[in-house]
Symmetry: C2
Subunit: 399 residues, 2 copies
Amino acid sequence: MAGLQQGEVPVSQDVSVVGVAMTSMHRRDQAPEAMARQVVAQAMADAGLGPADIGLVVMANALGGRLSDQGCVRGQSWLRGAGLTPAPVVNVDNSCAGGSSALHLGTLAVRAGQSPVLVVGVEKMWTGDRLGTLAGIEDGLPADERHALHARHENSSGSVLMGLNANWVRQQLEDRGTTLDEIAATAVKARAQGARNPSAQFRQETTAGEVLGSASVVPPLTRLMCSSFTDGAAAVVLESGASSGAPRVRASVLRSGDGELDYHDRLTETAEQAWKEAGLGPSEVEVVEVHDATSAEELWALEALGFFRAGEAGRATVAGHTGYGGAGLYVNPSGGLVARGHPLGATGLCQVVELVEQLRGRAGARQRPDTTTAVAVNTGGIMGGRDAGLVAIHVLQRG
Amino acid sequence: MAGLQQGEVPVSQDVSVVGVAMTSMHRRDQAPEAMARQVVAQAMADAGLGPADIGLVVMANALGGRLSDQGCVRGQSWLRGAGLTPAPVVNVDNSCAGGSSALHLGTLAVRAGQSPVLVVGVEKMWTGDRLGTLAGIEDGLPADERHALHARHENSSGSVLMGLNANWVRQQLEDRGTTLDEIAATAVKARAQGARNPSAQFRQETTAGEVLGSASVVPPLTRLMCSSFTDGAAAVVLESGASSGAPRVRASVLRSGDGELDYHDRLTETAEQAWKEAGLGPSEVEVVEVHDATSAEELWALEALGFFRAGEAGRATVAGHTGYGGAGLYVNPSGGLVARGHPLGATGLCQVVELVEQLRGRAGARQRPDTTTAVAVNTGGIMGGRDAGLVAIHVLQRG
């Protein structure tokens, strides 16, 4: 083991997740501050730390400026009275990937010697102003592209992002051999997982017939194949070193797209970097939370990430391999965006909360026994109408 | 020197500033993307690096959501085509302290082994929508406090923040013995510095009579004592280790207020932490950029930071000690917020650009010879009507 050079200090690369919490999802009656304070109190208690121990707070949120008239100091405003003084609060945004972006910064801060760090994501999407929420979601696109995207993807749902997703689905059906029945089975699996998750937004099981027969969003996508608006928050407490029994962050990799790649190729590129950084490959992963903005997307993402060959994720899902008690990779045990819910800036942290509970053996009715390696994949924004604004992959391992 | 324990890696605590750039201020004809791309290209050239070398981009902006309809992925949107692929872009906000918050995260990232890192601040405040800009500035207050603050501090300028500042000035005049003539002298000094800075927003010298006779903002503050709306951008490139001749970040300290302290006591608390982290005291600092939202504030901040005793900063300023060629601490060589300009999310980086140029001996007509130690003090947001949302202090030393 090498010694230290002048100006160097020894820093542990081990970052432990010592506390997690999340609200139940889709509470229309809770303000962002109530959700934020709740998860902070619970995550601190879970970590066995007091809020005054915290050295840095990274707060992710996407829609506060537009929907809550709280623009620049959201974290400070929503966490007042949470006892975090005098920790600095830094506010982070990356659309649907704000939570994982905040987690990345928190991980870097811990590796730089700052510890413990509190990472919080909170999102209030249900305000009664449906068009405002849609406009806030479209803030994940460059302003100068929105006009062209509306011209190209306008649809009765009002969401150009769902129009864009439908385009991807059509390509998936044609080029990869995925079938609508496979997509429906993926939605059925998501809802079955949601039924096992007390915090999920949608806790009713469904059938393939109900999925295919639900209201059309943008053909071929139906309502039950798509994520919805969600209120919710999640928090994660990170500490330096190998804390006994606490899961570790083995890799934290972000990439931003510039419109040069298709989103799925950006996923592949980011995953390759994550496997390299973690020193393992997709075959060693037991549980994954992927960014299923739609159930179709879950399947293509699994393939892009290297978990399945092109067109094979759907067959595995139909065979029951990817759900609770399945024979293979356990995908979106929380229910994913489609069933657990998708509170934009919190989503990346909701994924990590689920994986940490799996790694600690505390996931209750959805627990996979003896989980040792788990991965969270969170994405946000669309660049150039086809690339991602950000892809984040976190590889976690049992402590 | 101790060796390494299991799981530890050697990390250089030296963070070098290897490239800087800023736009000239107050260009009404430039879009945020044009300003952002300009400073990135110039900072990369200054660093002798290509954009593809960059491992992380931290982008600060405060008003893009409200004034440019660019909410969640501002950095990715404004830096498209800048060649930064595939560096991740993380978007940060902390009102007037976004730039220094981004710099802090960049510094932590470098200390965690990520290098080089690009930190960018950009702000477009002149859009023709004056009330929109004022509302965006008030996003630096908790939404639920704005009503009460408007009731308490409403004034003809339309800015409750200037009302709040005027309150502080009245307290300063009464409690600290500061005089209006000293505040006017501070504004005169700011404009004299601005006249020496080709990038400054205001490059006309002024007199104490003109300052005191200019339009009232909120008594006793007059127009020429106050910062104004500014368009501008700045960028800083950070690298790990002691790069030859490049200034180093000796301390990077942030604190968030919760309304429990007066802002100036929060400044004092943060400064004490910064001196401890840098291993030096205020008497060793030769150049400082303080957050002079008003010229009155420059004086009180200098005292709160420990550079002068209560009431003495004004006398030193009148005596000419704090300006170009002065006998003491050289304060706001760039012209500060009052003369160089205050492009919210960029301001903290504008300060650092000036200090790096001073430390490199490249500050032209405003150069202090043989500068070795310089400090940037940036603040943002108001909590509880009297505390800061964030205070950031960066201590820089010659490489």
